[in-house]
């Protein structure tokens, strides 16, 4: 029973974070929300007893992907600021 509650709770968190990621328009903020979504998915995989996938998700989804987005945003903004 506690299992089901935990799975339901993390699923709700993932749905909320994914919804927030779609609704966020500013890419820099979106990277932070995506990081939260990555963390939520890692938690979900862990409570579903898939810690291997959870670890991958934690590294890639919560750290590397948001960092790549933030770096891309920085590059684009720097160019725009100089040109504009």
């Amino acid at each position: 029973m506690a299992d089901t509650a935990l799975v339901t709770l993390t699923l709700l968190f993932v749905a909320a974070a994914a919804g927030a990621a779609v609704l966020t328009r500013d890419p820099a903020r979106q990277a932070v929300v995506l990081s939260l979504l990555g963390l939520g998915l890692a938690l979900l995989f862990t409570v579903l007893q898939a810690p291997d996938v959870g670890l991958s998700q934690l590294g890639v989804g919560a750290a590397v992907t948001p960092l790549m987005i933030l770096l891309t945003v920085r590059k684009v903004r720097r160019r725009r600021k100089r040109d504009g």
Binding site: D3, T4, P51, D52, G54, L55, S56, G59, V60, A63, V64, L67, M68, L71, T72, R74, K75, R78, R79, R82, D83
Partner: protein, 247 residues
């Protein structure tokens, strides 16, 4: 095709996919059950091969060829990114100025870097025993190094990150996997077959080729992520284009 026809084609496609998904879903085992035909067979096979972590047994033994494909996808996509993000003729490099970092952030980075690095190495080394392995540990190792960028600045990260070496290790990790697969052929078995002695269950030296293939993936993933982020960081921090100067 007019917009109307296109919308109908899309609706038909979506409806078909939805119907197939629902039909497939009804054939699935019940959620959370403890009986699963594939799971039971995979666990039995991994116990036979003396590999404590069934996931690693599936990744590096029972389905080792799939992992070769995955590793090559990462290798190929990092290679493509390196080519796309290279410094072109109309761009030049500006050395970043040393950054002033808040003391708290500096302490956080300095404290967390060695711990994260150690956790990453542990996850790679124990891939055949506990959750984790080359891919997960490799990503952790790569992110650990980038705590130096957070806690100090880009110049500090560049000093401990000889890019040429990481590119070499990236290629070597990929090559090691391909060659280890060949060892199976030389031993008179199939490509990527687990031909080494299987060792004692639940010890570091168990699982035959599993820890070796796992280490190859660890090397490849750690360096691939470092190389990938290096080119993103270069573009975001150092490389600027000369368009303004020419006009």
């Amino acid at each position: 095709m007019t917009g109307r026809v296109r919308r109908w084609a899309l609706a038909a496609g979506l409806a078909g996919t939805a119907a197939l998904m629902v039909a497939a879903g009804t054939g699935l085992p019940r959620f959370g059950g403890d009986q699963h035909p594939y799971g039971a067979r995979a666990v039995a096979a991994s116990l036979r091969q003396q590999t404590a972590n069934t996931i690693s047994s599936v990744n590096f033994d029972q389905r080792a060829l799939d992992t070769l494909g995955e590793e090559s996808i990462l290798f190929g996509s990092v290679l493509g990114t390196v080519v796309l993000l290279r410094q072109t003729r109309d761009e030049h490099r500006v050395r970043p100025r040393p950054e002033r970092v808040p003391a708290a952030l500096r302490r956080y980075g300095a404290g967390l870097l060695p711990v994260t690095l150690l956790i990453g190495l542990y996850i790679v080394a124990h891939g055949q025993l506990s959750p984790g392995g080359g891919f997960q540990g490799g990503v952790v190792i790569a992110t650990a190094l980038h705590l130096l960028y957070v806690g100090a600045d880009y110049r500090a990260l560049e000093r401990i990150r000889p890019l040429g070496l990481f590119e070499l290790v990236d290629g070597s990790g990929e090559a090691a996997y391909v060659l280890l697969g060949g060892a199976g052929l030389l031993a008179g078995s199939a490509y990527l077959a687990n031909v080494l002695p299987h060792g004692t269950f639940n010890t570091m030296a168990s699982g035959g080729t599993v820890p070796l293939l796992n280490a190859a993936v660890g090397l490849e993933v750690a360096s691939a992520v470092v190389v990938l982020l290096a080119h993103f960081l270069d573009q975001a921090i150092e490389i600027t284009d000369n368009r303004k100067a020419h006009r």
